[in-house]
Symmetry: C2
Subunit: 226 residues, 2 copies
C-alpha cells in the first residue's frame, strides 16, 4: 500500500489443493458469517478471513448464497453424523453429539442456531432439523404432561433451552466437559418439570420462600469434585 511498485512477496503465497482450499474457505466463512449473519457479511470480509481474494471465492462457489448453503450443509452434516440415531429424542448420546459439534465449531453452532434460524431464505433446512427434535421431544413429553398445549410448549422450549445452555457453556469456557451432557439434559428436564407443576418453587437448598431469596443467601460448600 505504501509502495505501489511491485515488491517481492514477503509471504510466499500459500497454495492449497482445490479440496483443501474449499474446506478452508468454508471454515473461514463460518467464522465470518457467525459474527453478523448472511446479509450483513460481505464477501470481502470472508475473503479477508480466508486470506484470499474475492475472485477466488467464485472459483469454488457460484454465489454468496451457494457459499452460505455450503457452510450450513457442512454443519448440518456434522450434526446428523453425530445425532443420526433415528429420531429417538434426547438421549445422553445425542446430547453428547450436539456438544461435540458445538465444541468442535462454536462459530458454526452459533451460526446455525442464532442466525440461520432467523433468516427467511435459509431457515427452512434448519427448522426442519429443529422440528424433528421438537417432535421427538414431544413424543417423550406428551405422556407426562396432561395439558397438550403445555406439552407442545415444553417440546419447543426444552431443545431451545438446551441449545442456549450449550452456547452459554461455550461462552463460559466449556467448564467440566465430563458432565456437561448430563447438565444440559437436566436443563431440558427442568423445562418438562416446569410444564408439569404449578407448585410453589424455590431455589435448591433453600426453604420455600418464593421471593427475595437474595436476603438469605447461605453459602453452602458441598465440595463437589469437578
Amino acid at each position: 500500500m505504501t509502495d505501489p511498485t511491485v515488491e517481492p512477496r514477503d509471504e510466499p503465497v500459500r497454495r492449497m489443493k482445490r479440496a483443501d482450499r474449499r474446506e478452508q474457505i468454508i471454515s473461514a466463512a463460518t467464522e465470518a458469517f457467525a459474527r453478523s449473519g448472511f446479509t450483513a457479511t460481505s464477501l470481502d470480509e470472508i475473503a479477508e478471513e480466508a486470506g484470499i481474494t474475492r475472485v477466488v471465492l467464485y472459483r469454488h462457489f457460484d454465489s454468496k448464497s451457494d457459499l452460505y448453503q455450503s457452510v450450513l450443509d457442512k454443519m448440518c452434516e456434522r450434526l446428523e453424523a453425530h445425532i443420526d440415531e433415528p429420531v429417538e429424542g434426547f438421549t445422553d448420546e445425542s446430547i453428547d453429539g450436539l456438544l461435540r459439534v458445538a465444541s468442535d465449531s462454536p462459530a458454526g453452532f452459533r451460526l446455525l442456531f442464532q442466525h440461520a434460524l432467523r433468516e427467511t431464505e435459509f431457515k427452512e433446512r434448519i427448522e426442519k432439523f429443529r422440528n424433528d427434535v421438537s417432535e421427538a421431544a414431544y413424543l417423550q413429553i406428551a405422556p407426562l404432561v396432561p395439558d397438550d398445549a403445555l406439552a407442545r410448549w415444553a417440546a419447543q422450549a426444552a431443545p431451545a433451552a438446551a441449545i442456549e445452555a450449550t452456547i452459554a457453556w461455550l461462552d463460559a469456557g466449556q467448564p467440566d466437559p465430563a458432565h456437561v451432557a448430563a447438565r444440559i439434559r437436566k436443563v431440558a428436564i427442568g423445562v418438562v418439570e416446569a410444564a408439569l407443576s404449578t407448585d410453589d418453587i424455590s431455589l435448591p437448598g433453600q426453604p420455600t420462600s418464593r421471593r427475595d431469596q437474595r436476603d438469605e443467601q447461605q453459602h453452602q460448600d458441598s465440595g463437589q469434585d469437578m
Copy 2:
C-alpha cells in the same frame, strides 16, 4: 382536472396526528424488523407494513438507523418500566414483567432477543440489559454453586433459557398464563440445579437410581430417556 392522469382515490386516505403516526410506524417497523432483522429489512417493506410511503418515514425519523433505534428504545422502555426493581434478580414480579412485555408485543420481544442481540451496530444497549440480568442472576447463584465457572455458566444460561422458554410460550399460544411466570422461573431453576448436580438424572415419574454412575452411559430402553 388540471392533471388528467390523477384518478379519484378509491380509499379516502386515512390520516393521523403526528404522534399517532409515529407510534404506528414504530409498531409497523417492529413487525417488519422482527421478521428479518435490521439489514435484511428495507424501508419500503416497513412503509408498506405501515400502509404509507417511504417518504413519510423520513418525516418522522432521520434515517433507518434512527428508526431502528427508536423501535429498540421503545421496547427497552417497556421492559424497564416493568422490571425496574433495582437489580434484584429473578423474582416472580420481574418475570411477570418480562412476560407482560412479551405478550404485549411478541414481535418486539423477538426483535430484541433474537435479532438486535446479534447485530453488532445495536447490540450494545441490549447486551447491557442482558448483562444486568446475568449479574443479578450470578449474585443469586454464586452462593449455591461452588465452582465459579459453573456459576457463571448458569448465570448466563438461566436468563437465556428463560427467554427461549418465553418465546416458545408465545409460539404455543400462551397457554395457562396464570402460572407461566412460575414455570419460567422453574426453567431458570432447572439450570441452576444442572450446575449443581452431576447426579444421574431421569424424567419425573421414573424410578431414580441414586448416584454413582456419573460417566456411565447407560441406555435405558424404556424409550423415555431424555
